[in-house]
Amino acid sequence: MHKPLLAFNENGIYCEVANVYLDPWKPVDFAIISHGHADHSRYGHKKYITHHTNVPIIKHRLGDINVSGRNYNETFTINNVKFSLHPAGHIIGSSQIRVEHRGEVWVFSGDYKLEDDGVAVPFEAVKCHSFITECTFGLPAFKWTPQKEVFSDINNWWETNREAKQTSVLFGYSLGKAQRLLKYLDTDIGKIYTHGAIENMTEVIRPMIDFPETTRITRETTKQELLGNIVLAPPSAHGSTWIRKMVPYVTASASGWMAFRGARRRRAVDRGFVLSDHCDWQELLTAVEATGAEKVICTHGYTEIFSKYLRTLGLDARTENTQYEGELNESDTKKESESVA
């Protein structure tokens, strides 16, 4: 038996032939990065390759790193191993990473979803022999509704709050979720205010995507001007003194975990909108099938359950431990810059 093309070691997903890591969690010499969330793109590698739209994003997060950008479907060769990035539809600049050597093809999904959210380039299935997939929401209990319906709920909620003379505070991670929300908020209802972390990140992305106008909340922002408008804030702002200034306000959270009543209560938000940048159960199955892979390796999420189910479908599926975190259902992430969606 020959060595697998990609292996999991203590640093990350390793391609020995090319001497390259995919989304490593420990500092390495050479890393190919799927997307800008903190658990996938960490500080301290000597050299980074990622999609070119992700370059400004990880530079914003990690500072002046040695990174070069690639286009989707552009092949680059390292030690005779062919690499290419393919749209993952997760957040802007997110990629699946295809790895080919001597006719053997592996694809690492990074994080992904199938629905076209109008911000990220939509997911494209890539044929492969072995597919490394996340399965954050790999349970049949997760079933997303089309985002159009969710956004109409969100805008209705905002409008109702405005009529009740309350400020709407909507929580979403500062990279990805916040911009997706921003894109579809109805500015006929009112103005959109942003927490600094979200405004900073959005400034980085604005040159690439068309977004409605936003106003950064500063010390000078008054309660009165916020009233009836909407505030986009990272989950870590929940319960902080920053938010208490906005009384009277109503809170909501937009996350896949909001599908569970328990998670809604745990977050203690007034309203939960089920909106995720990851696949639901059916999307995962559809994606796995579309790759045509015989071998499937499940990483973060309900890995054991999802891989067991894949085995009942006749696939060679197993789990691997990684240090990716999936969509956190916690509000108490230490620093917003470290949180993922």
């Binding site: 349970l139 049949p140 209990a141 997760f142 079933k143 975990w257 599908a259 569970f260 009543r261 328990g262 998670a263 809604r264 209560r265 745990r266 203690a268 007034d270 309203r271 939960g272 309900y302 054991e304 359950i305 067991k308 189910y309 009942t312 431990n321 259902n329 916690e330 108490d332």
Partner: protein, 530 residues
């Protein structure tokens, strides 16, 4: 059903009491009389008998969702609520149902007698037709147990707001036995009639735990002290030669305690006693485990009666000669109770007075509390001498001062995912102690006591230190030590150690301790003897 589902959604999505009360009282104002009665019944745990067993529900749901049963079960384990799991996994619809809550409940009542095939057709038809939240509520009505943070008290407050009837009067009216299928809103809530009150208990007055120093209660002479008994809080009613025994869950349990049937012959009509049902094997107070052999049984055999007889430890009298005494000061009620008990001495009725203990200083109170284990009590009850008998849990006049829990340092050996709000974290833990052969043997399971952020840390540690997986359970590297608190120890085959603890919970994470410093099984045995 649409309005009721919307109500449940609102109650479900807020933690603010005022918002809950408002939503509920708005609903009460607008709902039909029948729907009001059913809503009161559901929120006071008077749901109709379960028409379909849950095993069938799981099978049908997994069929409809087109997933294997094991996958349904895994999902259920993570979601933590059967109705919610079903509502999530079956294919969804966007329709609202035109049927009222009452119609659905009537159908469910009739369903009980039908064949399984008919039941399946009825249930799966509704699952297919209802939208997500209605499907959840519909299934919840079948499985029972709406836990949405609405206490009976909160519901009563909302009803009071909607009807302008005093809250305490409503609480009284809603107690006891009534059938939502036959009673009208008029009869249940609006009208007052004497015969309804024959079996009715008074709402229990509940004490809060002492929070600060006991001496903060002020002058020791203002207070009355007695031991806090570890049994079933009950009211015993004797009216018109009939006996009614109510437990605190507001269940009529008269039939479970035939020992008390002789009361009617001796205790005069128009008497209501408040007290604790305690096990009394060998003429002394037994353990809660003894009592548990009685609680679960529907029919009480002669052998069981002989092995574990019960007594009533009476501590208050709420009605005497047909008059409501609740507005009288506690010491006056006690005087009446004590003179009644004196009259009963020599009758050999299984009723005892919960003696008050006189204390002249808070130090004496503290040393009385230290006698709890010897007295087979859980600590002390501290009641203001001039307190009236209030409704529900109120601060100020009645306090419980429990003994400090027993504690032991134990090693985390197994972990399981939590339920509901903690479904994504490993929060259910099994703990072990060292045995004579220096092996770790399990003795307790606990899933509360850490902060959310501690749970998160332990969860991520567990994921990195898993040794083996047994279905949902993981064994972990013995490394973390926790201080476990509990109320009592009994021998038990449930755990490897041969011992089980009562109310185990995590007191703190002992990051300062290595596993070699955890306690031994011997230490646990020694605690049992204290």
């Amino acid at each position: 059903m649409k309005n009721f589902a919307e109500l449940i959604r609102t109650l479900d999505s807020t933690t603010k009491t005022t918002l809950k009360v408002n939503a509920l009282s708005e609903y009460f104002k607008e709902a039909s009389d029948e729907d009001r009665v059913w809503t009161i019944a559901i929120l006071s745990h008077r749901r109709p008998p379960r028409p379909v067993n849950t095993t069938l529900l799981r099978i049908w749901a997994s069929e409809l969702a087109n997933i294997p049963l094991w996958l349904f079960e895994e999902s259920y384990h993570i979601v933590g609520d059967l109705a919610e799991t079903i509502a999530l996994v079956v294919p969804t619809s966007n329709e609202n149902s035109e049927k009222s809550l009452t119609q659905f409940l009537r159908e469910m009542l009739a369903l009980k007698k039908e064949t399984d095939e008919f039941k399946k057709e009825y249930v799966t038809h509704n699952w297919r037709k209802l939208n997500y939240y209605e499907r959840f509520v519909f299934t919840k009505l079948i499985t029972g147990g709406f836990r949405i943070g609405v206490s009976q008290k909160l519901m009563t407050r909302a009803l009071s707001k909607a009807t302008d009837i005093d809250e305490d009067i409503l609480a009284y009216k809603l107690m006891g036995k009534w059938d939502p299928n036959t009673i009208s809103f008029e009869d249940l809530v609006l009208k007052e009639s004497a015969s309804d009150f024959l079996s009715k208990p008074y709402p229990f007055y509940l004490a809060y735990g002492i929070e600060g120093a006991v001496s903060d209660l002020g002058n020791v002479n203002d207070w009355s002290f007695e031991h806090k008994w570890d049994g079933i809080r009950s009211q015993v009613i004797i009216r018109e030669d009939e006996l009614f025994v109510w437990s605190r869950g507001e269940e009529l349990v008269t039939d479970k305690y035939p020992e008390f049937h002789s009361f009617t012959a001796v205790i005069p009509n128009g008497t209501v006693l408040d007290g604790e049902i305690l096990p009394f094997p060998d003429n002394e107070i037994g353990t809660f485990q003894d009592l548990q052999t009685r609680i679960g049984r529907k029919t009480i055999s002669k052998a069981l009666l002989a092995k574990t007889p019960v007594i009533l430890k009476a501590y208050d009298i709420l009605e005497w000669e047909g008059k409501d005494l609740r507005q009288q000061p506690f010491i006056k009620r006690r005087a009446i109770l004590e003179s009644l008990m004196k009259r009963l001495s020599g009758t050999e009725l299984p009723i005892y007075l919960s003696e008050t203990v006189s204390c002249d200083s808070w130090d004496e109170v503290a040393s009385e509390r230290d006698r709890a284990r010897e007295m087979r009590s859980e600590g002390l009850m501290i009641k203001r001498k001039d307190s009236t008998y209030q409704v529900g849990r109120k601060k100020g006049d009645w306090w419980k001062w429990k003994t400090d829990p027993l504690t032991i340092d134990a090693v985390l050996t197994y972990a399981m995912r939590g339920h509901g709000r903690r479904s994504n974290l490993f929060t259910d833990y099994t703990f072990a102690l060292w045995d004579d052969e220096e092996k770790l043997v399990t003795f307790a399971k606990a899933y509360s006591g850490l902060t959310d952020s501690e749970f998160k840390k332990v969860d991520s540690w567990i994921k990195r230190n898993t040794l083996e997986r047994f279905g949902p359970v993981r064994s972990v590297t013995p490394e973390l030590v926790f201080e476990i608190a509990f109320e009592g120890i009994t021998e038990s085959k449930r755990h490897k150690s041969g011992y089980a603890t009562r109310f185990p919970r995590i007191l703190r994470w002992r990051k300062d301790k290595k596993i070699a410093e955890a306690n031994k099984l011997e230490d646990l045995k020694a605690l049992m003897l204290t």
